[in-house]
Amino acid sequence: MLTAAVLYFLIVVPGTCGEMCMSHTMKTVGEVKDFRPHSVARSLGRAMKLPSFWVGISMMALGFFALLGMLSVAKVSFVFPATALSYAVGTLGGRLFLGERVTPQRWVGVSLVCIGVVLVALGKG
């Protein structure tokens, strides 16, 4: 039970924080307007020089391995509905840490997605 709780925490929190780090990194690099391969490669190269990119990658990897671990100790029909919480946590994180303006309309959309993810996972069981 404790193992599952720790793994669940690792899926939701570091997984979401890692993605937020990536968002912060790419906002620092700046809006990509030129999609020719060498320009894209240059933008990605700039991102890779930022510490937040590697922090983000590491946290996303931790979240991914926690998901694999969780799948070995809990049923798929529990794990995937439970990860729906990541959408709400991520949106809240975007609001609190990235300064994004999350309108009520966006919250409604995120809530519908969360419910949908739960239904999809239950439908697989």
């Binding site: 975007g94 303006r101 966006r106 409604v108």
Partner: protein
């Protein structure tokens, strides 16, 4: 700054790329690994052979390439769009997964799963009508 309609368009194009290539990548990885068989436990030579077969499989590399394409599209879209926009919008990949399961893998998809997919599509539609970018951070 990119005008709003152009921003919506390029955000939508990259999200379509993301949600198309990620499930395909997962499918090819799954197919490749099923073809290779289970990982042997015990002798290091067995493990070495397993990794050799994995990394010389064209299907595995196709899956990895598609997932890399997903990651590049994900990073690019995050260079201008809100994380709280991209995160729910990308969940529409569940529709692609359900369609692949039904029409490519010929699996049966339960009505509850279709209901969930419909709910996600509705959620993405609602999120999609908000502005993709609400911050001015990093504009250069």
């Amino acid at each position: 700054m990119t005008p709003a309609p152009a921003l919506h368009l390029k955000t939508a194009i990259l999200i379509v790329i993301m949600v198309s290539v990620a499930p395909l990548g997962d499918m090819f990885l799954g197919k490749g690994m099923k073809h290779i068989g289970p990982m042997p436990d015990g002798a290091p030579t067995g493990l070495l052979g397993f990794f050799f077969r994995t990394f010389t499989s064209e299907t595995i590399w196709l899956g990895i390439s598609l997932l890399l394409a997903f990651f590049v599209a994900y990073l690019l879209v995050l260079s201008w769009a809100d994380y709280s926009y991209v995160l729910p919008a990308s969940s529409i990949s569940t529709l692609v997964v359900a369609l692949l399961a039904r029409f490519v893998l010929h699996e049966s998809v339960r009505p509850l799963r279709w209901a969930g997919v419909a709910m996600i599509c509705l959620g993405v539609f609602v999120v999609g009508h908000t502005h993709p970018r609400t911050t001015e951070h990093g504009l250069c």
